[in-house]
């Protein structure tokens, strides 16, 4: 089945007010294009889930789309704070966001349970510290075989997962290389999956390298072709991280006025991703484009 559609159509069909959502990616493959489309469509009261909510989650928060954040590390990686989040989570904040907090392993374990069709997931963690003390979803179980006490977290089944990949076919068979983050667990845990790809290729091309497929099309509902959809994040083999932007973001996001002005110019003020890319500084994309490091491939013969 051909599931190709525009980002606008994919978001309109899958992200509803009040739903729970993951736009996954760990530094790598973070689909900013999807986040910006959600802001433009004016979604509200979302439960935003990710191990590492970063700039695009902060932008969703500033735009008023998020009611609750489920996370394990919230910052601007390598640079500093998420200021929209901080303005809504500190003692001096007039409005407050609901926070549900784990460590990476804990939140990942919730997704592992969801992806495996189990009600909970055990992990050897949290003994003595305060994370479990402030989060009632972290409980203790006793191993029925050894008697060992372990932490347990409940399965998480997000309503929607948005997964960016290097290439996919029209059915949503998605191939990923480089850092994989928790994309596989997120995709299998979610009730609905949107795949966004740098390149749309034929199913024959996917079949030539089946080990590369991280998400099979049978769990995917929409496929979007959105090259450069991850900027300023990076895509291995396609483009580098725009680190200058992450550094500049600290100043842009520190004051609500400059933050809103940026959203007006680069999110509300553009109609789609192509329009956003056209507004970037001339020559930037060429500067970020990856230098080739092609691997030799393998023999699938038998």
């Amino acid at each position: 089945m051909n599931k190709l559609c525009s980002m606008k159509e994919a978001i309109a069909a899958s992200v509803t007010d009040g739903c729970s959502l993951v736009i996954d990616g760990f530094t790598h493959l973070i689909c900013f294009a999807a986040g910006h489309e959600i802001i433009r469509q004016g979604r509200r009261n979302l439960t935003a889930i990710r191990l590492t909510p970063d700039l695009v989650y902060d932008q969703l928060i500033e735009a008023g789309a998020v009611r609750k954040l489920v996370f394990s590390w919230a910052g601007n990686p390598g640079v500093g704070s998420l200021h929209a989040l901080r303005r809504r989570s500190e003692a001096s904040s007039p409005e407050r966001l609901e926070l549900e907090e784990y460590s990476h392993f804990g939140l990942l374990s919730r997704l592992l349970a969801g992806s495996a069709g189990l009600p909970f997931w055990p992990l050897n963690n949290y003994a003595g510290g305060d994370i479990a003390r402030v989060n009632p979803s972290i409980k203790t179980v006793t191993c029925p075989f050894t008697g060992q006490a372990l932490a347990a977290v409940p399965a998480l089944r997000p309503d929607v997962a948005i997964i960016h990949c290097q290439r996919a076919d029209a059915e949503g068979n998605a191939q990923v290389w480089g850092l994989l983050g928790s994309q596989k667990e997120v995709a299998f845990a979610a009730k609905k999956v949107v795949v966004v790809a740098e390149e749309i290729v034929s199913t024959e091309r996917i079949r030539k390298d089946p080990n590369r497929t991280l998400v099979p099309g049978i769990i995917v509902s929409h496929v979007v072709h959105e090259p450069w959809g991850c900027h300023p994040s990076f895509v291995q083999g396609f483009h580098d991280r725009d680190n200058d932007f992450y550094v500049k973001w600290e100043d842009i996001s520190r004051q609500p006025e400059t933050y809103r002005a940026w959203l007006e110019e680069f999110v509300y003020g553009v109609k789609d991703r192509q329009d956003y890319l056209a507004r970037l500084e001339t020559g930037l994309l060429d500067k970020l484009r990856a230098k080739a490091r092609v691997c030799e491939g393998v023999d699938y013969g038998y």
Partner: protein, 257 residues
């Protein structure tokens, strides 16, 4: 361009160098963000070429050709031995017990090596909201040796952490063994003034000071009554060749220095 090279190390250079000395060739190290990232890459460029670097992002046996700007940098992937999902990193590498050395920093540390990276103030109504645990809690639980790298002040070396994100040797009066934590806990705190070791009770004591730093200065920068080891050592400092390596090759953009 030839530049005048100061032979006096900055605080960050001291800490990166001293932290690198803790790493042995072929140690399996879980590389953290910030100065630890620089320390590990310095160790690999000098005395520990076989250092086996694992990054939380999934890169295993990474040999980055540029200093990674974050722990999820694409240069960690290129030429690494393996790239795995984060579930494999936390379950198969860390929880399985394969990590020898972990590195952590934080906003607060106490005498037992408990670390706070979550909030300053009350959890429900914090004065400052910090990024949170990330993988820090599980690194503290599972690494066989844990190195803490932090600048020292009364604000950061505190009597009691506002929140214990990553457990040290003793949490709320209970020892690691009682709490069932498999890892060895903190082995050293490397600071800009000196180095703290942990005694048999799990308490941090001053063990090394840098040349030109006095034990009184270190105690004045500590929020608890810091005890001093009987044999106080002088902490090793980087020489000019190491400073040149740090400044000109490893971190020319001063991302961490």
């Amino acid at each position: 361009m030839a530049t005048e090279l100061s032979a006096v190390p900055t605080a960050s250079e001291r800490m990166a160098y001293r932290a690198a000395q803790e790493l042995r060739d072929e140690d399996v190290v879980f590389v953290g963000i910030g100065l630890p990232n620089l320390a590990c890459n310095l160790a690999r460029a000098t005395h520990a070429p076989g250092l086996f670097m694992i990054y939380e992002s999934g890169a295993v046996g990474a040999i980055p050709e540029r200093l990674p700007v974050s722990i999820g940098d694409p240069s960690l992937v290129t030429d690494s031995l393996a790239v795995v999902g984060q579930a494999d990193i936390f379950q198969c590498m860390l929880q399985r017990g394969l990590i020898e050395v972990g590195f952590l920093g934080g906003a607060q540390v106490d005498r037992w090596g408990n670390i706070n990276t979550t909030v300053i103030g009350d959890y429900a109504n914090p004065k400052v909201r910090l990024p949170g645990s990330g993988g820090a809690c599980e690194i503290a639980v599972h690494a066989r040796r844990l190195l803490i790298v932090m600048r020292m002040s009364k604000r950061t070396f505190v009597e009691t952490c506002d929140f214990v994100t990553s457990p040290g040797h003793r949490v709320n009066g209970k020892r690691r063994a009682e709490l069932g934590m498999p890892g060895g806990g903190p082995t050293r705190i490397i600071t800009d003034l000196g180095v703290l070791d942990f005694d048999a009770t799990g308490e941090a004591v001053l063990a090394e000071v840098y040349p030109s730093v006095t034990p009184e200065q270190v105690r004045a920068a500590c929020g608890w009554p810091l005890r001093t080891a009987e044999a106080l050592r002088t902490a090793a400092e980087p020489d000019v060749s190491v400073l040149r390596l740090l400044r000109e090759k490893l971190d020319p953009q001063r991302l961490y220095l």
